[in-house]
């Protein structure tokens, strides 16, 4: 038996048993964040909050959703939307949240790329973040199947067909994924399971891991400056106005978190404006027709956040397209190793890399717009050029960063 003194407060009682004081220090009051940051550093907590909202709205949708091919469509479009009190609210929050979470993920990613927050000790932050991106993609796709409308069905058909590997004709593998020859009950049930259980579990694990990878290297700052965290922490803890002004850091909670909450406030104004007035941008009209395996929608396209990679698949012949698509899915994982420069600095101080950053961002925007347009005439030409540019930029990255002048 370990030795325990009588506790004088609930806090002390808990501290004796699970060490909450230590936990609070490690996670909040002595987790140091540099002062030299801007609103883009709040995107992590904005994402965490959006995930929380998706989880809560999802729980309420789950209570009335029916994962059966005969009932799924009506359980969403009739029961939840018209019968359940405020059912429409959960659905629109869930749909808008799923779309916005990707917008913020992309902002979060490009912030990291711009400020070089993926190297010199921060590689695992980048890799775990990319893992989360893949998990969120799987979560979004599996969720898109559930209303069992025309777009659900045909997106399910086209995406699972990708796993036949083009000329490999691995149709047995595709049927294994579906549990049937076409997307049917077995397919809907298993994607329901993935969406409400396995993927959320992995995402929560991934978020914990992502936070963990951040703890030792700490977050980057606007100048990529190497901060003496021990010295700055000492100055902050000294507690005088002078020393705190001199310190280059603030504690995560409550100081940094209060900035986060301000940015979240602005973000949620946009979020709920969309939920209440423009939810239709997250609701594809084609998906309001029930799934029909004998009728194809005229134009099949994914949600906006997958368009850039879809456009990399499309302009090439089947096999080449699949290879290009597969590479595009994983290429961002390699960023910390493709960037050969030791500089951790904002892109505008990094010579050619500055050009690379904006070219990559612009190229992905072009791919996104072209992915939505029908692949005809000039649009497919632009799409092809943008897809090739994407790969040229990645091939150029190690070269231009190798010759980059050391700051």
């Amino acid at each position: 038996m370990a030795h325990f003194e009588k506790a004088n407060s609930i806090g002390e009682w808990l501290d004796q048993r699970i060490g909450i004081e230590t936990l609070k220090k490690v996670m909040q009051s002595e987790y140091w964040i540099p002062k030299n940051i801007n609103f883009l550093w709040a995107m992590g907590m904005v994402l965490a909050a959006t995930f929380g909202i998706l989880l809560v709205s999802g729980i309420f949708l789950l209570m009335y959703y029916n994962p059966s091919v005969d009932l799924a469509f009506d359980s969403v479009n009739y029961t939840i939307m018209t019968e359940v009190g405020y059912g429409w609210l959960w659905r629109h929050v869930h749909g808008v949240g799923a779309s916005l979470v990707f917008l913020i993920i992309y902002i979060h990613m490009f912030t990291g790329i711009y400020y070089g927050s993926y190297k010199r000790g921060r590689e695992l932050i980048w890799l775990s973040g990319m893992l989360l991106f893949v998990l969120f993609s799987a979560e979004a796709f599996s969720g898109y199947m559930l209303p069992w409308g025309q777009m659900s069905y045909w997106a399910g058909m086209v995406i699972t067909n990708l796993f036949s590997g083009g000329s490999l004709h691995a149709d047995g593998f595709v049927e294994w994924i579906r549990g049937d020859y076409v997307p049917a009950q077995a397919f809907l049930s298993r994607f329901f399971m993935l969406h409400v259980l396995l993927m959320p579990l992995l995402i929560i694990g991934g978020i914990v891991f992502h936070f963990g990878t951040l703890r030792l290297p700490h977050v980057n700052n606007q100048d990529g400056e190497e901060v003496d965290f021990a010295e700055s922490a000492r100055l902050w803890k000294e507690g005088t106005t002078e020393s705190r002004r001199e310190s280059k850091v603030i504690p995560f909670s409550p100081v940094f978190l209060s900035k986060d909450v301000f940015v979240m406030g602005v973000y949620f104004i946009l979020f709920f404006y969309l939920v209440f007035y423009h939810f239709e941008f997250a609701m594809d009209p084609v998906n309001f027709d029930p799934a029909d395996g004998l009728k194809t929608p005229a134009h099949i396209y994914p949600e906006w956040y997958f368009l850039w990679s879809y456009e990399i698949l499309r302009p090439f012949s089947t096999n080449l397209g699949l290879i290009a698509f597969a590479i595009a899915q994983v290429i961002f994982f390699t960023l910390p190793f493709m960037d050969r420069s030791p500089n951790v600095a904002p892109a505008n101080r990094r010579g050619l890399f500055h050009f690379w950053f904006w070219a990559m961002l612009a190229d992905m925007l072009v791919l996104t717009f072209m992915g939505k347009l029908p692949p005809e005439g000039i649009w497919s030409q632009i799409g092809l050029v943008a897809a090739i540019t994407f790969f040229i930029l990645w091939i150029a990255l190690p070269i231009i960063t190798k010759i980059e002048k050391k700051l």
Binding site: W154, M157, V158, N161, H169, D171, E175, W176, I177, R178, G179, D180, Y181, V182, A184, A186, R190, G293, L294, K295, T296, A298, H299, I300, S317, T318, P375, E376
Partner: protein, 174 residues
């Protein structure tokens, strides 16, 4: 093996790996199409039911199946190559194929006036034997496995006529 502890570790690890592999196999099997799904994968159609140059869409394994009885005019347009795609019963020729575009799986529409198929998704075209006449589709529509039984066709079973089509590359295995 340097010590008893190493041996215990190896033995535990070995049996755990064995159990893990067993569990993975069970998981793989659980995701396989069910026997009821497999046994529902057969459809019988009677070819006497069809009229010339009138496209009928049947359903097999959840996929649309196009059946088009060829008229004399259509037969006159066929070549040796496209004729191989047709199924002949009692002197009549039938086009039977999976109605999913070989490009990205959309369903092409048939125009009886021009006697060809057009896929609205990306503009692919096929003639009345479902042979591709305009890209992007890489090949003609695939022919489902069939066995001829009198005037009936059992889709899902493989008869000698289908095997011949596979062997000479007229269709890919569906």
């Amino acid at each position: 093996m340097s010590s008893r502890r190493d041996f215990m570790g190896m033995a535990l690890g070995g049996f755990t790996a064995l159990g893990g592999i067993g569990a993975l196999m069970a998981m793989k099997k659980t995701w396989d199409p069910l026997p009821s799904v497999k046994s529902a994968g057969f459809t019988t159609i009677d070819l006497n039911d069809y009229k010339e140059n009138e496209l009928v869409t049947e359903k097999w394994r959840g996929k649309p199946i196009f059946v088009l009885k060829q008229s004399k005019e259509l037969m006159a347009k066929t070549t040796d190559e496209t004729k191989k795609r047709l199924i002949e019963i009692n002197g009549d020729h039938y086009m039977v194929c999976v109605g999913l575009c070989t490009h990205l799986g959309c369903i092409p529409g048939y125009n009886p006036e021009t006697e060809d198929f057009l896929c609205a998704c990306h503009g692919g075209m096929y003639d009345a034997t479902a042979m591709v006449t305009k890209a992007p589709p890489p090949r003609g529509l695939d022919i489902p496995p069939f066995r001829i039984d009198g005037t009936k066709l059992v889709l899902g079973e493989t008869g000698p006529e289908y095997e011949k089509m596979l062997a000479d590359g007229t269709t890919l295995k569906v």
